[in-house]
């Protein structure tokens, strides 16, 4: 993985001291609340319901065991012994004291980490495919380009006060696991007809209040032009994006208002001036960064192992875990392991200090000291030998990290919601708990199979509800929490935004309602058909009828009378 040189180290060290001074000036009254806000946000620090929340960047999700131990240490020393993996592969602490944040940042800098631009109206952490580097369907490893973009965007002087936040995702695989199409800029590494690898560029995707699927602005961009083209898009956005209304300030609104053809013309015109400037990316730099993501030294004999099959045949619980939580690897004899942070009794995506320490030990032993956070709030151990899967499973199980539910109903994406977030209108975590309590029969969950439930506690859509197969949005109606359901969303290659099912559901009835929706699926599915497949085939009506039986028929009567 990428190792800081003295330049990289200096910039994070200087940032710590800069923020220490900004915090001091704020506490001394030299900086007003309004003046301090963007400064602290650009260091990931929110003022939340109970205490500040600190969001720490994990560039493209990749962590070493040393970094993971430091994250555990921070949870122990400055927080309440746990942290939360976010939907943008970052990690969040819910209870730090403002005064201690400079010290936390210094601890992070000591392991080549930071919280730079993890919030604020600037370019945020660059996210990617959690299987980057080990996926079988990869055109090229996207992480070197994420790192190049991370450096380019860090303290970019022109783009620190954009109209609104700006999110990048980069994928190098044919199967999109990074929700590329719902980012402000989405990049796919692709091969052109001449066999060269470059980028397909999408712009103007995003969730939030106005969910929009990104549009292709360029089918093929040469690697050396990566930075100049991004700069052209950002400059057009910085100049012409709306600043009069926070809800209309994302680039998707500008792209939609301008039209993608006209917007592309503006970008190309801007780009023509700057494409051959100092922004031209040296091949030498690409090679330097790529070299740092070279694969580890895999054991050539890994596939010769026979113990894995023996355990699989003799241990049902192990086999169930392998079935759901183990993914293929490009190297024979190796697997990628998904570590579930979705045990029934914990808030989705939460991880304790002890778990992080033990995971660090496990990856030192079994995964070349690397671990990756995922946008669906789990971890990946990217390189595990098949012979090590059984002992690893035993260790994970001992620490509550082997729930065999990846991709199933209980592998819920969930924002912190009303329990922690000052923006939220409704709780998310209690709903996740309700779902876990109702659907606690593993056989039933396996029968339902692949399904993505995504839940947000407000319109900001941190829980990506628009692209859940079942989306749940918490809303506040006169002080009472209600939940708006959507069906049929997807963030993958077959991207779609969910359709609204009907009026909000009372808090107590969310899990029950999901049960009814699943009943329709079970009754209507054709063999091997997924929930999403069935939904797309039969449409929303049968689900509406089941969830709102009486009301729905009334609506129908009214509609036909009008007609």
């Amino acid at each position: 993985m990428y190792q800081y040189d003295h330049y990289d180290q200096k910039i994070v060290d200087e940032r710590v001291e800069q923020f220490r001074d900004q915090t001091r000036r704020y506490l001394a009254g030299e900086l007003s609340e309004d003046e301090f806000r963007p400064l602290r946000l650009m260091n990931g620090l929110y003022i939340q319901t109970h205490a500040p929340m600190l969001r720490v960047d994990i560039p493209y999700g990749l962590l070493s065991s040393r970094q993971l131990r430091m994250l555990a240490h921070i949870a122990r020393k400055y927080d309440k012994n746990y942290a939360h993996i976010s939907t943008r592969q970052n990690i969040q602490y819910n209870w730090p004291k403002l005064e201690t944040v400079p010290d936390i940042l210094a601890d992070l800098a000591s392991v080549q980490m930071h919280a730079i631009q993890s919030s604020g109206n600037c370019i945020r952490n660059i996210t990617s495919d959690q299987f980057a580097g080990v996926a079988e369907d990869e055109v090229e490893d996207p992480r070197p380009y994420c790192e190049i973009l991370r450096q380019w965007s860090t303290f970019h002087p022109e783009f620190v006060y954009l109209p609104r936040k700006f999110k990048f995702a980069v994928s190098g695989a044919t199967h999109d696991r990074a929700a590329v199409q719902v980012h402000d800029i989405g990049l796919y590494l692709v091969r052109n007809e001449a066999g060269e690898v470059g980028f397909k560029v999408l712009v103007g995707g995003g969730l939030g209040r106005t969910p929009v699927i990104g549009k292709v602005i360029r089918d093929f961009l040469e690697k050396r032009h990566l930075l100049s083209y991004m700069e052209a898009i950002l400059r057009i956005y910085n100049r012409f994006g709306r600043r009069d209304n926070i809800y209309k300030a994302r680039i998707k609104i500008l792209v939609n208002a301008t039209g993608i053809e006209k917007f592309a013309e503006m970008v190309e015109a801007e780009w023509s001036y700057i494409k051959d400037s100092a922004l031209l990316l040296d091949q030498k730099e690409i090679d330097r960064v790529r070299a740092q993501f070279a694969p580890p030294e895999y054991d050539k004999d890994a596939a010769a192992d026979s113990t894995f099959d023996e355990h699989l045949a003799s241990n049902q619980a192990f086999a169930a875990w392998v079935d759901r939580n183990i993914k293929t690897h490009k190297v024979d004899g190796y697997r990628a392991v998904v570590v579930s942070l979705k045990a029934p009794t914990i808030a989705p995506g939460d991880v304790t200090d002890v778990q992080m320490d033990r995971l660090a030990d496990m990856i030192d032993e079994y995964s070349f000291s690397e671990i990756v956070t995922t946008h669906d709030q789990n971890f990946i151990m990217p390189h595990v030998k098949q012979a090590d899967l059984f002992p690893l499973w035993e260790s994970l199980a001992e620490h509550g990290l082997a729930t065999p539910n990846i991709g199933l109903l209980t592998d819920i994406i969930c924002c912190p919601g009303l329990d922690f977030c000052s923006l939220a209108n409704a709780g998310s975590i209690p709903i996740a708990k309700q779902i876990n309590e109702k659907f606690n029969d593993m056989d039933y969950l396996h029968d339902i199979g692949d399904i993505k439930i995504k839940m947000s506690g407000c319109m900001n859509a941190c829980g990506h509800h628009h692209v859940g197969h079942i989306g749940i949005l918490g809303v506040d109606k006169k002080g009472v929490e209600f939940y708006q359901l959507t069906l049929g969303g997807s963030a993958e290659n077959d991207v779609s935004l969910g359709d609204r099912l009907g009026p909000g559901i009372e808090k107590e009835k969310v899990a029950e309602t999901i049960g009814r929706i699943l009943d329709v699926y079970v009754e209507q599915r054709e063999e091997q058909e997924s929930f999403l497949g069935t939904y797309r085939r039969i449409g929303i009506e049968p689900f509406k009828e089941r969830v709102y039986p009486k009301k729905h028929s009334e609506e129908k009567v009214v509609a036909s009378a009008n007609y």
Binding site: D5, E30, E35, N121, P157, E158, V160, L227, R288
Partner: protein
């Protein structure tokens, strides 16, 4: 009045006229007028024998300003709020695309913690908001010494030195 110019606190000779009424007689000396006033009063302004500056805001099109660049000794960039980042792009364009060699001055809601970014975009003088300490603000230029990316300050991306 004092301003920060080239990282030093200096006395300033410019007068900035924020609003000018139709029958107002312009003061003698170096003046900064709104860009819109320049567009309507070019002849009068060109007859003066002192230096001329214009002030542009986020809504002014840099491309329009660039057409008259040779007449300006100074361009002031107005930050109506320090969170309004449009002037950063205007500064970059004026320096890099239109090769403006005169003084680029930040005015309005100009605060210490943005000076580093403004300077990197080619702004070389700063009229700090009145209630802020100029001595303290000078520290802003040395806080971050590594520049990852090229910008209008002429810096090469740091990777070139690796």
């Amino acid at each position: 009045m004092q301003i920060i110019k080239d990282e030093k606190i200096v006395e300033d000779s410019w007068q900035r006229l924020v609003e000018i009424t139709a029958d107002e007689i312009l003061p003698t000396g170096d003046i900064i007028v709104p860009f819109a006033y320049w567009l309507d009063n070019k002849e009068v302004l060109l007859k003066r024998d002192s230096k001329l500056g214009v002030c542009i805001d986020g809504d002014d099109e840099t491309e329009e300003v660039a057409k008259d660049l040779k007449h300006f000794d100074l361009i002031a960039l107005d930050f109506p709020a320090f969170t309004d980042g449009r002037a950063y792009s205007h500064a970059c364009l004026l320096r890099e695309r239109y090769n403006f060699q005169g003084e680029l001055r930040a005015v309005g809601d100009v605060l210490r913690d943005q000076l580093f970014y403004m300077q990197r975009c080619g702004i070389d003088s700063f009229q700090l908001r009145e209630d802020k300490d100029m001595e303290d603000a000078l520290n802003a230029f040395t806080e971050i010494s590594v520049k990852y990316q090229s910008a209008a300050d002429g810096a090469e991306p740091v990777y070139k030195y690796r």
